[in-house]
Every structure is written in C-alpha cells, then in structure tokens.
Symmetry: C2
Subunit: 411 residues, 2 copies
C-alpha cells in the first residue's frame, strides 16, 4: 500500500511560469516571463520608518494574534481608497484582509465551487486563478473576448447552455495576460447579464490604478446594485508584494462565508504587516508612490512597443495596453510559442508561452511579455534577441521596421 493523495492532485502541477522563472534566474537572461514589480519603486526607507514606529508604539499588539477580518485601520483605509479611486461604495466592515489577492482566489474556490461546477472566465485568463480554482475541480468555460473585453452575447449564450454556472471570474483592467481593458459599455452589458442571472462575479483588480493614459473606468464593483461582485484588491502592484497583503470586498452575506474559510486556512494575515501598511498609508501619500510606478512602467511599455515595432517580423500581432504590467503577442498560427521559448532561452531571453493561460488548452501560438521589471535598455536588448529568433522562424532575416504588424489594441 503506497501513500495516496487526493484525486485533485492528479490535475495540479507546478506553475509553468514558476518553472520558467527558475531557468531565468541566471543573470545573463533577460526575462519578460515573471510579473514582478520594479523593486526600485519600493518605498524601502518609509517602510523602515513605519516598521520602527509600529513596533515602538504598539509592538505587543503587532506581534500578537488578531482577528480574521483584519486590522480595523487598514480596512478603513481600503474602504476610503475604493470609494475615492474606484467609485465603489464599500464600508470597512465589507473588507476582508487576505494574504495577497491570490488567497482571495483560493477562498473563492472554497466558498463557491463543488466538483464539476462551471467557472466562466475570459479567454485567455490569469494562470494563478486557474491554478487556485482548479483545486476545487470546476470546469472552466472560456468566453470569447476581444479588445474591448468579454463579449456579452457570447457570455449570455454560454450561461443559457450551462446549468451549473457558479461564478464568473474576470480582470476588466489591464488584464493578465493580455493587457486589455474592458470598455464602459461592455462593463454595463456584463453586469446586466450577471444581474439577470444572479451570477456571482469575482473582479480581480490588481492593476486598475496603474493607468498610463486614457480615462479611468468604474470598477464592476461600482456598478453592482445586486451585490454580486466580490472585488479582489492588492497592495502588491501599487506598493510592494513581499508583505502579501491583499483584500476582498463583498457584501456582508458573502463576506461572512469568506471569513469562515479564511479562519480555517490561516487564522488571519500577519498583524505586523497589516499595521505597517496602515501606518504607511496614514503617514505617507500612497498616490505619490503609485504615480512614480505609473511613470516608470509607462516608459517601459513604450520602450517595449518601440522595440517590438522595430524588431518583430510582419504577421506578428500584439496588444498596446494603456496600463498594467503585460502585453500579449500572437504569432502566425503555424508557430508554437513553447518551441520559440526553447530557442529564446538559448539566446538568454524568456517569456511565458500563452497556452498556459487558456484553461482548456490551445492557442499555442501566443505568449505574454512583462515590461515592469526591466530597465529600458534591457527591454530593447531582450526584444532585439526575441526579434531575431522570430524573424528567423517567420522566415525573414531583416527587420521590417514600423508597420501594420502590430494591431491597435487594448483601451
């Protein structure tokens, strides 16, 4: 008799991104594979100052167990920020602090999913959400998505055909992996459909504040009269990810379910880390920090798009995101991005093949590029290497300069 694992373990595997990241830790590799924020934007000195202050003034509280729901001051600060930045009217009691927004995904699976239930998601969607939810053995129903977001008529059609629809999972702002943003009309059309069907929605919004251009659009949570939206937020992209502080905002009858399962999952999130962030937000202007990040990432996005226009061969399409950390590349259908990656790793440049972002497979001619974690000259050099591989594979030797290869995209 050998040790037996749960059935769910058969379908789980270590994230492909994670395996790629291991390869790309060699310093000579230029990696567009991860989704790491720029560490030079971390407010290290300010964090040192608030850590000292929290420990001096309330050390015994900061090092003790605390409530599952989270630090009251931090919940208040988040509620204010959601009101001011996202036009979402969320009282502090409807905020639950989570160990990164990744935990919000795991808790969502626990609260909602029985084996065989359907999760409706964008196609492609965030790999970390697929990994988190897969533990609960749902079926993923991919809804076709264009540059303006999920296609409402396609969603409606699938919901009509799907008796076990339990949840929609969406990333309306600067989506991971495509960088696309839903238009206002699509947001309203989507909310109209889910409201009619009383379908709970998880709105994953780690990048919403990182807009480089254009007008901010309301979060789904802000246009949700029926209280169907569970909003996942995080400090990882607007502040720093190492503290693993995210949050979840939902109406009370939903939130109380999440509190029960979070209690079983880890009792509560680090008291000290919560108090540090609350103290930072109180003492400093988080908006200044966000503005700095936005400016750095905007320049990096520009550098990446310039390099792509100069280096990639015709027939390669890519998105031009208005914010966030990622853009998305579509190769001619005959190419396989996993094979391209193998060639690229030999040239010391890396990315994530796009197939992993489609829960039901396919689309092997796509890949994701991250532009937040690399200074502009490295971006230019990395894209040049990638361009050489692609030109060779597409069968052209010379770069063809700026042209229609890039599609207008994202918004």
């Amino acid at each position: 008799m050998a040790v037996q694992f749960a059935k769910r373990m058969e379908s789980l595997k270590a994230s492909e991104i994670r395996e790629i990241l291991k390869v790309t830790q060699r310093p000579e590799v230029i990696s567009f594979a991860g989704g790491l924020p720029a560490p030079e934007c971390f407010p290290v000195d300010e964090m040192r100052e608030v850590a000292a202050r929290v420990l001096s003034e309330r050390g015994r509280v900061a090092l003790q167990y605390s409530t599952t729901e989270g630090d009251p001051a931090l919940r208040r600060a988040i509620a204010e920020r959601m009101r001011d930045r996202l036009a979402a009217d969320v009282p502090p009691e409807e905020v639950l602090i989570t160990s990164g927004s990744q935990q919000g995904l795991d808790l969502t699976g626990k609260v909602f999913l029985d084996e065989g239930d359907a999760v409706l998601c964008e196609s492609p969607t965030y790999l970390g959400a697929i990994n988190a939810l897969q533990v609960y053995r749902p079926r993923f129903v991919e809804v076709p998505t264009d540059d303006d977001g999920m296609l409402p008529e396609e969603l409606d059609k699938r919901l009509a055909a799907e008796p076990r629809a339990k949840l929609a999972y969406v990333i309306p702002d600067f989506q991971n992996p495509t960088g696309r943003t839903w238009s206002l009309a699509r947001r309203h059309a989507f909310m109209e459909i889910v409201s009619r069907r009383k379908l709970p929605v998880v709105e994953d919004n780690p990048y919403g504040e990182l807009r480089f251009e254009g007008t901010p659009l309301p979060a789904l949570k802000a246009i949700d009269p029926d209280g169907l939206v569970v909003f996942l937020g995080t400090f990882s992209k607007i502040f720093c990810p190492g503290l693993r502080i995210g949050w979840l905002a939902a109406r009370r009858r939903l939130l109380e379910k999440y509190v029960v399962v979070k209690q079983g999952a880890d009792l509560h999130t680090s008291t000290l880390a919560q108090m540090q962030i609350a103290a930072y937000v109180e003492a400093y202007d988080l908006d200044d920090n966000v503005a700095r990040i936005r400016e750095v990432y905007r320049r990096r996005r520009d550098a990446m798009i310039r390099a792509i226009e100069a280096e990639f061969p015709p027939g390669v399409r890519f998105t031009r995101p208005h914010g966030g950390l990622f853009l998305w590349v579509e190769l001619p259908a005959s190419l396989n991005a996993r094979e391209v990656l193998a060639r690229c790793v030999a040239e010391n440049v890396a990315f994530v093949p796009g197939g992993s972002f489609f829960p039901n497979g396919g689309h092997e001619n796509t890949f994701r590029l991250n532009f937040s974690n690399m200074p502009e000259p490295r971006i230019a050099e990395g894209i040049a290497r990638l361009g050489r591989v692609l030109r060779e594979l597409v069968g052209r030797v010379e770069p063809s300069g700026v042209r229609e290869a890039g599609v207008a995209a994202a918004g």
Copy 2:
C-alpha cells in the same frame, strides 16, 4: 435564483472559540478561552532592530515576491533547530515555510483528502484542525486516548475496520486541548502501526519546546524511518504569532505536493516576515526567549492548578500538563459545560466548552482552560469565580480544599 455556495459551506461555521473571544474582549472579563501567548514575552525591541536591519541591508529583496518554498536562511535555521531540539534529521530542502501552522493543516486537506476519506485523530483534538480539514469533507475517526496518548490497540482496530483511512492527525506534546503528552512507548507503538499500514501522519507540534519539567521526548518525525510524518512547526508559541510564520517538514515526494498547493493558495509567505525571523534567529538567542516563556507559563500553570485545587468542588477532574498552554477539565457527567459557560460569562470569566474538540460530538461535560495569557493574580481570581459557579452547580457551597478531585495526568 439565489447565489449558491459550495456544499462544504453547509457544515462550516465560525469557530466557537472565536465567537466566545468576541464576548470576552470586555476588559472586566477574565478569559481562559483563547490560546494567546503572553505578549510581555514578545521580543519587541529585538524585532524593531532586525526589521530596521533587514530593510536597510536587503530592503528591495524583503519587499519583493519570493519563492513558494521560503527564505533559504530561515529554512536552514529551522532544519538546524529541528536537529538540535527534536533529534529530527531534516535537510533545509525538506522544509516549507507556511503562513502559520494553521496553513499547514489547510494544505494537508488539499493534498490528501477526498470527500468521505477518514482522518484518524485523538479524542479530543485541536478545534482549528477540525475546522481546517472539514473543508475537504472527510470523516473524523476519533481514537480513544488516555493520559499517555493515543491507545495503540484502539488505533489498530479502527484502521483494520477502515478502508478509506487517509491520514492520522496527532499532537503528541502538550496537546491542545488536554495538555497531555504521549509517552515514549506510545510514540514507538504508534509509529510501528502507521509504518505497517503506510499511513501518512501529520504531527502538529506547536508547544513541544515549552516543557516545564520532565525529559524531552523525541518527535514522531525523529522516529520515522519510512518518511510518513509531515511535521508542523510554528514560531507562534516560541517567538510571536503575529507574523504568521510556521513551517512544514516532510520528505521530498510529499513536500513537493504541498509546494504546488501552497502556490495556488497564496504564492508564498511574507518575504519580509521570513527575513525578520531569520535575522532574529541569527542575531539573538531564541533559546533565551523560549526559556523566559517557559518560566512564565510554568508559574501560571502552577497558579492555575493551586487555585483549582482550592476552589473546584469534588467530582471535577483535571489534567496537570508538564508544558504547553492548556489544561483540561472534566465535570460530572450530568453537567453541560456550555451551560456552565453561560453562567460564567455573567460572572465575567470564560473558557471553551470541550464538546467542540470532539469532531463527532458528545463530551459536553468538559472544558479547556488556557493559562498562558494571564498574570497569576488574575488566574487566581478567575478560577475563584469559576469555582463559585461550579460549586453551586455541583451542589456544594464550600470549597473542599486540596483533595483527590484532580486526577494525576499528563506527562
């Protein structure tokens, strides 16, 4: 159509302890209900010093994403400590950092449990483990336990009758809730049985280092030639709980399953918190801190036992733990501890009714007392209040002084 939750949500409820703790936050209440460490033992100044140092020297690393497995220096320090303190030979690569040892329980459910599988546990067992594992819908098979630990012949009998035994969950040192410690002979007998049946074991060991008297006994992990034991450790009771840093030690083929599910659950545990603890352990002597905690808790245990002997009526039995945070009380079978609690809350004293610690119910004449979180005079006063209620209920008005009411227990 109303929002539908997963079936597992029907059986989950907020922890009773947590609900009681809410009531007992009034300062006039003397609460023996929680399991909080003594905050006056937290090394606040040292933590402030290491926080500043980590952020000065390696701030950008400390605030960035990191690996799922955990900080290499912390994993090394834990491996050393397990070798030196528990005689368990664990290489650093077989240590996974978790968000408190509570997360180790949740991950265990994910890795091992399908609906209807059997978890064998002590009777009673830790409420937080019941809550964490219940999410995965197992059946709990309670194995009778006496003052020397789980009864081997009872375990063997149940395993023989149970085709779906997936896991044993045990707390051999200063158990929560009883305070009991398994004898050496029982440890060996237990390991012989699980080895014969190749049954994985979760050894939950948050209190093992908090021994006030007697000889330390080897962890099950140290007498596990077949690599069946998953050891859960934590800094919560020997250092401080607010950072939520625990660990899990298991052979590689088990550990890699845990790494995959932890990645989906929260990516990784706080980088900064891990580096803070690693820096503390490097710069200071954790043993000094543990020695201080031991001395404080030993005196509090003594104060509680003295007060119980003086105040509780005959017919009430209790354990005399040699370490840890808890002792266990058994009332005459006719009394219900939930009703006693209601009376006690009116007298501003609280505890946790024991029935919650039996996954299959019953034993309503028991309760758990915590002695770690209260100075001796408050312990004396709280036990006096509790004694008054019990004397009244047991039908005697006068305390009967030191006598045979207390059973010799634990060791």
